[in-house]
């Protein structure tokens, strides 16, 4: 028994969106009730289960694509053909800056830190383009979703660190208002 290609795509799309929503929901509930609250923990568990499921489905889809190269290539070619025309050269990696350089250049031009999500996302797009020789709207959406999820995860970790170890963030403590400082000092 096997899963149809279209079903794989559908499952990945559904799970990717669900993961994003669950992560946001867990963050919102954690912010309102505290991360140790039962509801926040249940939300986190649901979010982790969805993420695990997404990883498993992606792994299965990748394994299947590897083992049936001919069909995967045809499918990839079809997807590329369905995208709007672009001036990409035959070998897109030839005239493309390397990932780190591209990211640094984009960040500098936009006045952003290299760790900002936008240059990293653009770098993801370049990497994908260099690897597969093409890019689809679906892949771009998925990469953006991954960046958004990474950002939310980092945000939750940073907030937990800030609340648990406020002395590690003296510069932020200095910027916080009186009420916030009082909370932090607890």
């Amino acid at each position: 028994m096997y899963i149809l290609e279209a079903d794989f795509e559908r499952l990945i799309r559904v799970l990717s969106e669900a993961r994003s929503r669950a992560t946001e929901l867990a963050a919102s509930i954690g912010a309102r009730l505290g991360t140790e609250h039962r509801l926040a923990k249940l939300a986190s568990v649901a979010s982790l289960k969805i993420e695990g499921m997404l990883l498993e489905v992606r792994t299965s889809a990748t394994g299947r694509a590897d083992s049936s190269g001919g069909l995967a290539e045809l499918h990839g070619a079809l997807q590329t053909e369905m995208q709007p025309a672009n001036p990409t050269p035959a070998n897109p990696s030839e005239n493309m800056p390397t990932g780190v350089h591209a990211m640094a250049a984009i960040a500098t031009q936009a006045g952003l830190e290299p760790e900002h999500w936008l240059p990293m996302f653009v770098n993801d797009l370049f990497s994908q383009l260099g690897t597969s020789g093409g890019i689809t709207f679906e892949v771009a959406e998925r990469l953006l979703q991954q960046r958004k999820d990474d950002f939310l995860r980092d945000f939750l970790i940073a907030r937990r660190m800030y609340r648990t170890y406020p002395r590690l963030f003296p510069e932020i403590q200095g910027e916080a208002g009186p009420a916030e400082r009082q909370t932090i000092s607890q």
Binding site: M1, Y2, I3, L4, D7, R10, L11, V14, L15, E17, A18, R21, A22, L25, S28, I29, R32, L33, G34, E36, H37, R38, L39, L42, A43, V45, A46, K49, I50, G52, M53, E56, V57, S60, R163, A179, E180, Q182, T183, Q186
Partner: protein
């Protein structure tokens, strides 16, 4: 920290949407891979955890909230 009825309704609505959007996942995997396949079982677990979360949200008693439970809450 506490939560009011409007926020709880909003969280419950979003969680219920999440549950209905993912409810097809176990069925698709079960139909195509069989109910004993690891992916199908993982999908059942995932949906179970979402259902459990939604059930708890629906049963959550706003009036029974322990105010001041979170030392960083400030409310």
């Amino acid at each position: 920290m506490t939560i009011d009825a409007r926020e709880l309704n909003e969280f419950t609505r979003k969680a219920t949407d999440l549950m209905s959007e993912t409810s097809d996942v176990p069925r698709i995997l079960r139909n195509q891979l069989g109910e004993n396949h690891q992916l199908a079982q993982a999908a059942e677990e995932m949906l179970g955890s979402i259902e459990n979360f939604v059930r708890e949200l629906r049963c959550f008693d706003i009036s029974g909230q322990n105010i001041g439970n979170d030392p960083f809450g400030g409310s």
